[in-house]
Every structure is written in structure tokens, then in C-alpha cells.
Symmetry: C2
Subunit: 357 residues, 2 copies
Amino acid sequence: MQHYHIAVLPGDGIGQEVITESVQTLEVLAQLHGGFRLDTHEFDWGSDYYLREGAMMPADGPTILKQSGFDGILLGPVGDPRVPDHITLWGLLLPIRQQFDQYVNLRPIRLLPGVRSPLANKGLADIDMICVRENTEGEYAGVGGRVHQGTNDEVAIQSTVFTRSGTVRIIRYAFQYAREHGRRKVTSATKSNSLQYNMVFWDEVFAQVAADYPEIPHEQQLIDSLAARFVSRPESLDVIVCSNLFGDILSDLGAALAGSMGLAPSANLNPERRYPSLFQAIHGSAPDIAGKGIANPIASIWSAQLMLDFFGEHEAATLLMRAIEDVLTARQALTPDLGGTATTHQLGDGIRTQLRT
Amino acid sequence: MQHYHIAVLPGDGIGQEVITESVQTLEVLAQLHGGFRLDTHEFDWGSDYYLREGAMMPADGPTILKQSGFDGILLGPVGDPRVPDHITLWGLLLPIRQQFDQYVNLRPIRLLPGVRSPLANKGLADIDMICVRENTEGEYAGVGGRVHQGTNDEVAIQSTVFTRSGTVRIIRYAFQYAREHGRRKVTSATKSNSLQYNMVFWDEVFAQVAADYPEIPHEQQLIDSLAARFVSRPESLDVIVCSNLFGDILSDLGAALAGSMGLAPSANLNPERRYPSLFQAIHGSAPDIAGKGIANPIASIWSAQLMLDFFGEHEAATLLMRAIEDVLTARQALTPDLGGTATTHQLGDGIRTQLRT
Ligand SMILES: CC(C)[C@H](C(=O)O)[C@@H](O)C(=O)O
Ligand SMILES: CC(C)[C@H](C(=O)O)[C@@H](O)C(=O)O
């Protein structure tokens, strides 16, 4: 029997509330399914930790996670009004993505049954894409600085850094994904008209990698008009491969089109499994509703589902996805963001009840 | 009587078709209104010119435009499948924006009467914002390069450059605009969690400038969740101030929400009037429908309307805007993108007929 060792980092705000539901759901699933076991180890890293210790995690945080031999990391949202956002993020999530070489950020954008899209006349079949986002370099390389700080002459520079290996591997991943999952098409998000260095380079690599997948139709589109197409013709999109920033924007936009930020999951993958991969809802820590027990746990539970899938536990993953869809279809036990009145825990329980039936 | 001297650059693709309608409409308006005259001078710069001459415009193109004493420039879309996009853009539009210090790119995002938004349950009052986009630096500074080109070690760097003066003036313009137009609120698009140099700087400047406008509510939001909010709660947005790239993305997204890319105008302004300002539809050259006479000319005509307004011809500008709205309300003579069967010229004629009544 497979035994998975999971690091759980609830993070900030509603994090503890939604992560608890994910862990409970995984435990019920493991019992019912019987094919695998898991144990979890919780870490209190995040903004409270920062306010106490002066850092978002211990200096050797990544080493601890690596040396403990975790198979995966479940992370809650990170962000707190008392701490500047760039400190929160560059103190925890972004270094983990980079140091664990989680170069794929996989983000399904799918309208689930029972959920209403804000788009008129778009149904389940119309919103079903997957965003393959580069996750370790590009716009979020973290390279830059400020000169003449505070004076009228101040200049702030932030450089986007695209390496060939980093660009090739994410684009190849997208085509490989399309091939293995029978997807129709790969669309590359670009902006090579105004960004004449990094995006022209990106386009060249895209064309080169695409040549290895002659059976998969491909196209590229400028990020501005691609954002417009998300709204006007989402049914024309399938696999989308994009840079770190573009993927960040498109996946939030996609989550809104799919009905709620409370539903959208993500997987930060090191496909070679040299480092643990990380699974996280794409929503923020929602300080306005933290502690009220009304946050939607589905994005977090779906992220745990992506983890099972990445582990190769496809049967369990399928069961869990079906349970999520069944609860939504029944429209019982829904949280306020979905138009219901249930609590976070009641929605989690609803999913676990479905698993048992 | 005021006399305006206008440079007309039809550009590529559908450019000639839509620009012709704009010029004819301005001429009719000038006759009817009687308060101003205009003469136009057409330039054939663009991709055909490039294929003939090896450059998008003469080397001294901006000098020609400047020395001829033009009051404004009407530009069509630029882009052609036979020319790489970065050559097209960096050969014409982007240098004009920079050399003429057109640091404000003003983009109304407004659902017009008679037009249907792809968003369910959103009406006229819900989609009415204005995007104030920085237009001379930031992500489109044009700074960067590539090393080890073509090898496995290649690195492409594109740097975003934010100066204090460039940042202060665009944010100040947004607040000033809000004050003068009785707008409710200014929202700043940011990404200071992951972009810890340029966007943290942007946020600091935003807070400093906002302090000079204590009566105007302001807020900032991460670009990813702001894109989601465009879809989920557009009615909560009013003036949006943003960097070059973020404004580019948000304005196309906004155009889609407002029903058609064929409707969205823009003004590239040098508010100090040291250089001519430029007015342009935000849509592309649409090579797929070029020459068919079915492109929607409204974005181009509305851009000409913004020019009149910038000239201080508020009465004529109001008349023209009303004629555009009346034609849309009547739902006669609409082009295919709006669900009609009219030609570009028939829609232009429809607007001119409304002007005369
Ligand atoms: C929290 C933030 C740094 C992060 C990102 O921008 O990558 C988030 O928006 C996401 O999409 O995962
Ligand atoms: C054509 C292109 C360079 C331009 C831009 O990116 O600024 C366009 O998309 C726009 O929005 O005006």
C-alpha cells in the first residue's frame, strides 16, 4: 500500500478553515478507497509566524520540507493586511516554487455542474480549459531594483527573465499534456508586438516545440485579445500555455468565468519529482470573512484532488472529483459565494457524505 | 472660427475602411455645427509602406508630423500578417507614443445603449469605467535584449522601467480626471506581491498622489483579481489607473464586456499639448475581414469624438456621441459584429443621418 507523507501549511486568513476540510476529506477517501494511506504534518508558517518570528518561515524552511521526505505540500492562501504583500509572498510561496523547481503551475478552468457562469448563454461544455503557467522565472524572476529612492529621479526596474530551458520545458509540458489528455489545441499567450525581446523569444520557442507535436493544432494570441476571447468565445480555448504573469491573470479571469474564485484549484508541479510538488487554491486569504466559517473549501479540496492525481491515484482522484460535482449538482450545502447558506464545514461534510454513497 | 489640422494615418487591414468613415463624419459635423473647420492630410505609412520602403514610416516621420503643425492624429489599426508584429509596432505606433510624450492612454469602457454585454444581468449602468493607462514607459519601455541567441543557454530579458515622474503624472492625471468629471473612485491596478520592485514603487507613488485628493475614494487591487472583478462586479469600478501592460489587458477585456472590440476607442494624449495627440480604435487590423467593407467603424468614429473633446469642442463631441448612441439604440444599420448586416459605410451613414436630425 502506498503511504504518502504530506506537509500541510494552512497559511493565513481562511486558510486553516479550508485546509482542515481538505485534510479530513483526504482521510475519509483513504479509508474508503483502501489503496493508500497518508499522514500529515502541519506547519504554522505564514503571517502570524512572521509577526512573531520576523520571517514567514524558518530560514531552512525549504530544507526541512525537502529532508523530511514529503511527497506533497498542501498550502493554504498566504496574505495578511498587517504584512506587506511582497514580504508575505517572497517569504514563503515564491521561494518554494523556485527552490523546488515547481516550474509547472497547472490550473484547470472548468465550469462545474450546478454552478452558474457570469457569462450569458455559456454552459458546461463552453468553459473547459487548462492553463499551463510557467512558475519559476519570467516576470516573477524577482530581478530588479530601485535607484535614487525617494527622490524625483527615482527609477524602479523589474526585469523579466526568460531562459531557453525554462521556456522549452513549460511549452513542452503543455503539448505533452494535450497529447496525453486528448486535448484539441494548444494556445500560446504572447505579447510579442510590444515586448520585442522576451515575447519574441517565447514565440520562437513555441514554434520550435510545436514542430515536435504535428498532430496537435496550435496557435498564439496576444494576451490582450486573448483576455477578451476568454469572455467572448471561451469554448474556442483548450490548453493555454503562458508566462508566469500572463497565467496568473488569465487563471483568475478564468476562475471568475467559472463562477467563483472559491472553486479554482492549482497544482505547482515539479514533474521530475526531484522535489515535492505543492497544491493550493488560487484564491486569496480573504481577511474579510476569515474566522466566520463560511469560506468555500472546494478550491482547496479540488487542489488536494490534483495532488492525488499527480501521485498516480487516479481512481481515488476520480471519486473525489465526482463527489465535488455531485454536491454542486444537488445544490445542497453550498456556501454563500455559491448562493447557499452552508458553512465551510457543512460543505466539506457534504462532499464526504457523497464519497460514502 | 477654430481650424484644426489633422494627420490621418489609415494604417493596415480594415484601417482605410473605418478611418474614411471617421473623416467623413467629422466633416459633416463641422459643416452642421459651424463652430470649427478641419482639414486632413493623409499619410500612407504602415505595412504596405514597409514592404515597399523597408520601414513603417520615413525615418523623420515624427518630425514631419510635428513640423507640419498638426493638432491631432487619427490612426487606424496597424498590423499585417506579412510583417512581424514587433516590427510593425516599434516602427510606428510605439515610437510616436514615446516621442510625442503621449503619456496618457485614455480608454472609456462603457456599455452603449442597444448593445448587449456577454455578461448576464449587467446593463448600461453596470459597465461604465474609464481606464487611464500609462503610455510611454513601464513594461513597454522597449528595454532588453537576448544573449547566447539560438543556443541552449539563451536568456531573453525585457525590463520594465518605471520613473517617478512618469508614474506621478499618470496617477495624478487619473485623480484629476476623477475630480473634473465627478467620478466616484480611483482604483489602481497593481501586482506588488510578486513584482516587488516596480509595483511596490507604483503603490508608494499612488498613496502619495492620492493624499492630494482627499475627497476622492481610492483603492488598489492586484491585477489578477481585478481582472476577475471586471467580470464579477464591473459596477463597482470607475476610474482605473494602470501601467502600460496592465492597461492594455484590462482595456481589451473591458471592450469585450462592453459588447464588441469594434466599439472601443482610445485617446493617446500629451495633455500639455507640446506634441499632437493621437486617437485610435483599440481593435486590430482584422486581416480576416479587411476589404470586405463590414468592419464596425464606431470605435474609430468614437476615437475621433475623443479628439474633438480634447480640442475643447465639447458641444460637437456631445452631438457626435449622441448620434452614435442613437444609431445603436435604433438597432438599424448595424455591422455583423453587432448582429446586423450593414456595411461599414452604411453604419457610418447611419451616424451622419442621425447628426442631421
Ligand atoms: C499570491 C501570488 C504571488 C500568486 C501569484 O501571483 O503567482 C497568486 O496570485 C497565484 O496566482 O498563485
Ligand atoms: C498594438 C499594440 C502595441 C497596442 C499595445 O499593446 O499598446 C495595442 O494592443 C493597444 O492596446 O493599443
